[in-house]
């Protein structure tokens, strides 16, 4: 087509009757946005399990998941910026926030959560930072000195206070993380024109899938990281994470199931087109990838007795793929049904970056964006070693003993 192309025409294929202005306006960037915030929330909840609920066996992953959560959080806004057609005006959202809009408070929720995470990281690593500031010379020493924020008190009393504060921050962080992601769910759930999104269950569906994806990304990254460094991996920690994963997998599956059953049973006007979407156009995505391989298979793998490291790894990887597909199905699937209920829109991601728009919407930037948190984690790890407290075989055996002791005490 000559001249100016409509925003969305590049990647939308229309079928049957759709309104002239109807395109897939929210694309891959909006698929990735809830995916990343979900990982943030899940990873944080995992670290809080150790700090708040005192799950000793999670000690080796507590620091790691906290810092990883921060790395992910740093990237959470970038897909949004890519998505805006006027990204340089994004500051307007803070200058004139219109609070009737569900997305106006995003920056506030995001920044307050960021403050909690940063504060917790500082307190968790404070003794380490001070130690390094005293020892290290040169630039690195200077960095650590700056990071102490002038506090060099490592007396027992101070450390005790630190621990208390960490506990409070981790506890406050759980509802904050839930709010951050439940809020993302609300943004979708409150769009009254998209029948697939419009359900009060949406915040909870998003929250559950957030936690399963967050825990899974920690399992996958942790096992990979340890294996690369040829470190010993403690089975107790992995099993404990998998237990969390199982519970939330069940919750996520029930919620998503209830949602679909309600749509089918009430069979409102939109059900005609929605059922075609579910059982034909998105059947592979939703039924095969999202539910079968993304939830049922990992659940079975985790529930089978004698959980091995490999099985934990495979099921977590499957959950990660499943949740990503779920985000895709929600965001793209929801918009695939024409609002006339009489047509379909198909999303074709522009692969070749032959224009700025194609680059912004294409797979290259998005892949980079998804890899960025891992890179950030790698950098952070140089300054704040997150695996400092990994269990050796002895610690692990001790924890296992404690756990089995607990179990036998219960029986």
């Amino acid at each position: 087509m000559e001249g100016h192309m409509a925003h969305g025409a590049l990647w939308t294929v229309k079928e049957l009757f759709t309104y002239p202005n109807e395109y897939i306006y929210w694309t891959i960037t909006i698929v990735v946005y809830p995916y990343i915030t979900g990982l943030v929330a899940g990873a944080f909840v995992l670290s809080s399990m150790y700090h708040v609920f005192g799950k000793e066996e999670l000690k080796p992953v507590a620091k790691f998941s906290l810092v990883f959560s921060f790395a992910l959080l740093l990237m959470a806004t970038s897909p949004l910026m890519l998505h805006l057609t006027q990204p340089f005006r994004s500051i307007n959202i803070m200058l004139t926030p219109h609070f009737y809009s569900a997305i106006a408070a995003f920056t506030i929720v995001y920044l307050s959560y960021m403050a909690i995470v940063m504060a917790e990281i500082w307190f968790v690593f404070r003794p380490f930072i001070i130690e390094q500031a005293m020892e290290k010379k040169g630039l690195l020493g200077l960095i650590y000195k700056a990071m102490t924020l002038g506090s060099f008190d490592v007396s027992e009393k101070a450390l005790h206070t630190d621990e208390k504060i960490i506990k409070i921050l981790a506890a406050v962080g759980i509802p904050a993380a839930a709010l951050l992601h439940g809020y993302v769910g609300f943004i979708f759930g409150s769009v009254k024109t998209v029948p697939l999104w419009k359900t009060p269950l949406m915040p909870f569906i998003f929250l559950m899938s957030a936690i399963i994806s967050g825990v899974s990304v920690c399992i996958v990254t942790y096992i990979t990281g340890m294996a690369l460094k040829r470190n010993f991996i403690c089975g107790a920690s992995i099993r404990s994470m998998c237990k969390v994963l199982v519970w939330f997998l069940v919750a996520a599956f029930i919620l998503e199931g209830v949602d679909i059953i309600f749509h089918a049973y009430t069979a409102e006007e939109s059900w005609g087109i929605m059922s075609e979407l579910l059982f034909e156009r998105f059947a592979f995505n939703m039924i095969v990838v999202q539910w079968f391989f993304g939830m049922i298979v990992p659940l079975l793998l985790l529930l089978l007795p004698r959980l091995t490291m490999l099985r934990a790894f495979i099921s977590s990887a499957l959950v990660l793929i499943g949740v990503f597909t779920m985000r895709w199905d929600v965001v793209i699937g929801g918009q695939s049904m024409s609002r006339s209920f009489a047509g379909f829109l198909t999303y074709k991601m522009p692969i070749i970056p032959n224009s700025i728009e194609a680059l912004k919407e294409g797979p290259i930037l998005i892949t980079m964006l998804l890899l960025m948190p891992f890179f950030l984690l790698f950098i952070f790890n140089k300054i704040l070693p997150v695996f400092i407290e990994v269990f050796n075989e002895e610690d692990c055996g001790f924890t296992e003993g404690l756990l089995s002791g607990k179990d036998s005490a219960k029986h």
Binding site: M1, E2, G3, H4, M5, A6, H7, G8, A9, L16, F17, Y19, P20, N21, E22, Y23, Y25, W26, L80, H83, L84, T85, Q86, P87, R89, S90, N92, I93, L95, T96, P97, H98, Y100, S101, A102, I103, A104, F106, V191, K192, T193, V194, Q335, R339, S340, F341, A342
Partner: protein, 258 residues
């Protein structure tokens, strides 16, 4: 009769309460509210639109005029106003289309590109569409920066200098009246030609319609054609279930209209 001071106060209080409570039950009417009891509509200045689908022939002149008047690039596949064609066949099948928003008009009996014999057609109609300038616009509700707003006289506008282009308003419009303007890269929509109607002119689409299918006017002005139609004829609106209270009223809609 001897009254102690206490009794006097007691009885006084009862008397005051007794008179005040019934009085408070009566509502004090503002002049506007009193007027609304006489007039069926309030005196508030409010723009509205009437589309008579029985008069539309699908020539597409309105869509064309709109694009030229409002400087929306002509060949870009977005429309501030467009015309939909509904064809119901004798076997009950409904075919709907709106090729290029019908800015080139409907010239053939070929809904969705397939020729249809006249003998197969049960009924057909054209439905012009535009922004409904809702009383409770969901697009305005969801704009995170307040770049889109409703004017005092009921027209929803977009501030092109402030819109960040998140697309939330586009997603939240039940009518898909919104799109991204290809040059400003901000949300765009029909304004009832606000720059014209506020100067006493007609909208571009009303002026270009040779069949009188479109009318724009003040909803409470007894002189306006919109007022006359709304107060005497049976009209309906599109998608009232969304609760937006749309202000484009239709004559001759059908249940097949989406």
């Amino acid at each position: 009769m001897n009254l102690s001071r206490r009794e006097l106060l007691k009885m006084g209080l009862v008397a005051v309460c007794g008179t005040v409570i019934p009085l408070s039950a009566l509502e004090i009417l503002t002049p506007e509210a009193a007027a609304s009891l006489i007039h069926p509509f309030s005196k508030k200045k409010r723009w509205a639109f009437v589309v008579d689908t029985t008069k539309c022939v699908g020539c597409g002149m309105c869509a064309k005029a709109c694009k030229l008047e409002n400087e929306v690039p002509f060949d870009t596949e977005v429309q501030r106003t467009w015309i939909e064609r509904y064809v119901q066949l004798k076997d009950g099948k409904v075919i709907i289309d709106s090729p290029q928003g019908a800015r080139y008009g409907y010239t053939k009996n070929d809904p969705q590109g397939k020729e249809i014999k006249d003998s197969e057609v049960a009924k057909g109609l054209f439905v012009p569409k535009l922004c409904n300038q809702c009383e409770k616009p969901s697009c305005v509700q969801v704009c995170p920066v307040g770049a889109t707003y409703k004017t005092e006289d009921g027209v929803v506008l977009v501030d092109r200098g402030w819109c960040i282009g998140c697309g939330y308003c586009i997603t939240n419009c039940p009518y898909f009246a919104r799109f991204f303007h290809p040059i400003t890269n901000t949300a765009d929509k029909c304004t009832f030609c606000y720059h014209r109607i506020t100067k006493g002119l007609n909208t571009a689409c009303v002026d270009s319609c040779a069949f009188g299918a479109r009318k724009c006017g003040l909803i409470n002005d007894p002189e306006s054609e919109v007022f006359k139609i709304l107060s005497t004829e049976r009209v309906s609106v599109l998608k009232p279930e969304y609760g937006n209270e749309p202000h484009v009223f239709y004559i001759g809609l059908d249940h097949i209209v989406r």
